[in-house]
C-alpha cells in the first residue's frame, strides 16, 4: 500500500510518500503507526504525539481504530488549517 504524508509530517520525514507491505497482524491505522514507528526512528519521533495525527484511508478520513484491510492509500497529516 501507498502511504502519503502532508505538511510538517512530510517535512520532518523528508518524504511525501512511501510504499509498504505490512504483515498480517497490522489490522488498523493504529497498528500501522506502531509498525512503522518500530522500523523507522524518524516516524517514531514525528508520530510521538498521536493526538496530532489525522488519518485517511482511500481518501476518506478515519479514526485510528479503523481497519486497513482494503486500503490502497493511507494518508497521515496534522490538524487541517484550510479556509
Amino acid at each position: 500500500m501507498n502511504i502519503l504524508y502532508f505538511a510538517w509530517l512530510r517535512e520532518r520525514l523528508d518524504r511525501s510518500q512511501q510504499q509498504v507491505e505490512p504483515p498480517e497482524h497490522v489490522k488498523t491505522v493504529a497498528d500501522l503507526i506502531d509498525w512503522l514507528a518500530q522500523n523507522d526512528e524518524a516516524i517514531a519521533l514525528a508520530f510521538e504525539n498521536r493526538k496530532l495525527i489525522r488519518a485517511a484511508v482511500n481518501a476518506q478520513i478515519v479514526d485510528h481504530d479503523a481497519p486497513i484491510a482494503d486500503a490502497h492509500t493511507i494518508a497521515f497529516f496534522p490538524p487541517m488549517t484550510g479556509g
Partner: protein, 148 residues
Amino acid sequence: MTVRVIAHGFDPGGQTNLFLKEHNSAGAVVTFTGLVRSSPSDPITSLMLECYPDLAINQVETILAQGLTRFELLAATIIHRYGTMVPGDPIVQVMTMSPHREAAFEGAQFLMDYLKTDAPFWKKETGPTGTKWVDAKSADDRAKARWK
C-alpha cells in the same frame, strides 16, 4: 452545487456573477471571500497552502451536501485554492443562494466553519522572521461545534 479545488487564482467578483446567473428567483445571495492576510502584528510575505486533492474533493463535497440539506439553499458553490500566494490573494470563496437572507447567511457561515476544520489544507506562512506552519485554532473548533 459546485466544488472546485484549484491550484491557480480565481476572480472573486466574476465567480459571484456566474453564481448569480444560476437562479434568478433566489432573492438572497451571500458570498464569503477569504484572502491571504498580512497584518502589522503578524506580517507575512507569502503563504503556501498544501492540499491533498483527492481527500479535499471528498471532504468539500460532503460539507457542501450537509449545508444544502440543513439550510434552505437553492444553490451553493465552494472554491478553494492551494499553492503559493501573496497577501490579498483570494484563497477560498463560498457562495449560497436562498429565498431568505437568514438561510443564505447561515449556510455560508456553516460551510466556512466546516471548511476551516475539515478540509485537508495546511497553511505555511513566510514572513520577515522565517517560515512556519500555522497551528489549527481552537476558535475554529468552537465555531464548528455550535452547529452540532
